[in-house]
Amino acid sequence: MQSSASTADGTVAPVPRLAMHFASLEVQNHAARLGMWLFLATEILLFAGLFICYGCYRFLFPEAWAASSRSLDLTMGTVNTIVLITSSLTAALAVHYAKEGKNRMVAIQIFLTLLMAVGFLVIKYFEYSHKFHIGTLPGRYYFYEGIQLPGAPMYFTVYFCATALHGLHVIIGMVVLTFSMVRALRRADFGPNNYTMVELGSMYWHLVDLVWIFLFPMLYLV
């Protein structure tokens, strides 16, 4: 854990509130960060279950999975990956500026992040609607003529479960970041002592990104 909390107590104007049950501000921030790390661990385990399903069924239906994977639009997937990785950069920059107390820059960076998140979802929407159109849908809804291998519907079950769950996390992440952005604009009190909120939001965003970095090769590439 990077214990980078500033030691310059009192010298900077906006001091965050210390909840009375904590021994010191440093402990409070440490606790918040530790809590977030643990929460991220649970998120990873949540997706781990899906990865296991993916692994098992891929092993059971190798040809169907190869064929189905090739039916996805690689260009859209790649663009989405680039968009999401870039959004992680801006999220990290937001933390950087929050540490320096540049609240306007924080808001701008988060806004850019949100913009890219929306872009990600829009591209995802196009991918989804294409699938609804041609019929590469989960389970019994599957009516695509192109791939008639047993196991292909299962691929799309896993595909839709994983991307929908990930999409849900994107939306949650956007909500969390929006709160930080509003605070950076309204209260403008982020500074070297008080950036935990941006940091946690950004950590969550990195997780969303990380999950996609696993999902992308699994679903589109291999």
Binding site: T42, Y57, M154
Partner: protein, 555 residues
């Protein structure tokens, strides 16, 4: 950084520092709102206690209905569909609404900060949130159970659960929500243990209850998301038919079982590890001895938590997994047994050269020891792969896990309730009734579940609505035992309710215990300590005469 090296900041002092009055947490704010919106870990613990007991009552009533139905081989008081829903409801309520939150959310919440010398848990508002998430999930699940009812058993194995027409979706989604409550509580406790320990409390001076809760929380945090995902997948499957576990679409029901038991086996340790922690406190307190082999007990909690993650396959010896995998899970199961054995030996060793006071909590300790030994040994026997072949999914398994989950955990829950009753409410209960009901309950448990072991040997499968005639005698015995058990609980409910209102004032430390939680007032004031935090120079449960404290005896 560790808090023991940090200096107390000036902001940490209580706001109302006038020296006239520090009301205890029970009377500090008497409006309903002050309870419902409290962030005080003690009040949240009490609210959890209320709901957990309520759900225990619900689950208990359904248990009695099951036992009554099984009194005769044919239909007795209900039809097959009602029976299937009844045992499902019994399992779901007891596991998700009672067992899992029972000790961590009630006594963990109440005692953990007290034992760490902290003013509250790390995230008090999240703590309150976890209560409401729990209630929200519970309401959704119960609404689903009452409007249609689920008939899959609490294990909701696919593909039956994805095909049945009963209300799977709301119940499983309710259980999913309850999972969040469990995760939040777990995260909160882990962070509390890491960051909130008072100066002087190092890792190896933490009370063993804290160690147990810490290990439990790790399991809660790491295992619950997996069942969360599984619950969502089954819900989606049941609503939309995506075919994830449907063999007709190439799905694999054994994969479902792997994912299910990956959570549900560690979940057993979520239920039983806190019980081990409670008993470590009680045996030390009532025999006035330091725990024999403190580190062994602490490490074995972590060991159980760790190995518990790798033993899930022993639920599936006959489910179609390979012979080799079965053997692997069998060996790992033995390790859980070894860790538990270490604990049992060390508890018994604690009494050696002690000074035993045979009060109600200690009576429950005796019962607990009995149930843990036999529940544990039957668990080992079930892990002995070939013996599991005839026993799997028979009443032997039912009896085994009731010995551990009901026997050990309920013993610990009741012991904790009695031991900490003065701490929580500042009053004492009637000792005589306490011992009588403890005896009744221990006898009742044995009379209920020993016949079930024999039923399992005899070959009666679980979840049977009707059964061949030859099983009847043992079923009647079991039902008779269950009535005795219920009677014991009624007595407890009576005298504890009486004590709650009219019990004698207990004083600060009625047991003269040297556990850390007794260093403050009983009941504690709102922020646990008046003025500066106490210091903790000695390890917990240090009963040595100060004059000869230097040389430890080694045995």
């Amino acid at each position: 950084m560790t808090p023991s090296s940090s200096i107390a900041s000036p902001g940490a002092a209580p706001a109302h520092d006038e020296h006239h009055d520090h009301p205890n947490y029970l009377v500090d704010g008497t409006t309903i709102k002050s309870w419902l919106l409290t962030v005080d870990h003690k009040r949240i613990g009490l609210m959890f206690l209320f709901w957990v007991l309520l759900f225990f009552l619900v689950g208990g009533i359904f248990a009695m209905l099951i036992r009554l139905e099984l009194l005769t081989p044919g239909p007795t008081i209900m039809d097959a569909m009602t029976y299937n829903r009844t045992f499902t409801l019994h399992g779901l309520v007891m596991i998700f609404l009672f067992m899992i939150p029972a000790i961590p959310a009630v006594f963990g919440n109440f005692m953990l900060p007290l034992m760490l010398g902290a003013k509250d848990v790390a995230f008090p508002r999240l703590n309150l949130l976890s209560l409401y998430i729990y209630l929200g999930g519970a309401m959704l699940a119960l609404w689903g159970m009452l409007n249609g009812g689920l008939d899959t058993g609490w294990t909701f194995y696919a593909p039956y659960s994805t095909h049945t027409t009963t209300t799977v979706a709301p119940v499983l989604f309710g259980a999913f929500i309850i999972g969040f409550s469990s995760i939040v509580t777990g995260i909160n406790f882990i962070v509390t243990v890491h960051t909130m320990r008072a100066p002087g409390i190092t890792w190896f001076k933490m009370p063993l209850f804290v160690w147990a809760i810490y290990a439990t929380s790790c399991i809660q945090v790491l295992a619950t998301p997996v069942i969360g995902l599984l619950l969502v997948l089954v819900t989606v499957e049941n609503l939309f038919g995506f075919g994830m576990f449907d063999p007709a679409r190439g799905g694999d029901p054994v994969l479902f079982q792997h994912l299910f038991w990956f959570y549900s086996h560690p979940a057993v340790y979520i239920m039983v590890l806190p019980a081990f922690g409670v008993m470590s406190e009680i045996v030390a307190s009532f025999s006035r001895k330091n725990i024999f082999g403190y580190r062994a007990v602490a490490y074995s909690s972590l060991g159980i938590a760790f190995v518990g993650f790798f033993a899930w396959g022993h639920h599936m010896f006959v489910s179609g997994q390979s012979t080799f995998v079965g053997g692997l899970f069998g060996v790992l199961t033995m390790l859980v047994g070894v860790f538990t054995a270490i604990k049992v030996f060390n508890w018994v060793g604690t009494v050696y050269k002690g000074a035993v006071d045979f009060k109600t909590p200690f009576a429950y300790f005796c019962g607990f020891l009995f149930f843990t030994v036999f529940g544990g040994m039957t668990g080992i026997a079930l892990g002995t792969v070939s013996l599991d072949v005839p026993w799997h999914d028979t009443y032997f398994v039912v009896a085994h896990f009731h010995f551990i989950m009901v026997g050990a955990t309920i013993m610990a829950f009741l012991a904790a309730l009695h031991y900490w009753f003065p701490k929580m409410f500042g009053r004492t209960y009637h000792e005589g009734w306490g011992l009588v009901s403890a005896a009744l309950i221990i006898l009742g448990f044995n009379a209920t579940f020993i016949p079930q072991f024999l039923l399992g040997n005899n070959g009666m499968p679980r979840r049977y609505y009707e059964y061949p005639e030859r099983f009847q005698a043992l079923n009647v015995a079991s039902t008779a035992g269950a009535s005795l058990l219920a009677f014991g609980f009624v007595i407890i409910a009576c005298y504890l309710t009486y004590a709650l209102f009219y019990g004698r004032a207990a004083g600060k430390n009625p047991w003269r215990s040297k556990g850390y939680e007794w260093l403050t007032e009983s009941p504690p004031p709102t922020h646990n300590f008046v003025g500066p935090q106490p210091t903790y120079p000695e390890e917990p449960h240090f009963y040595v005469d100060p004059k000869k404290a230097e040389v430890p005896d080694a045995v």
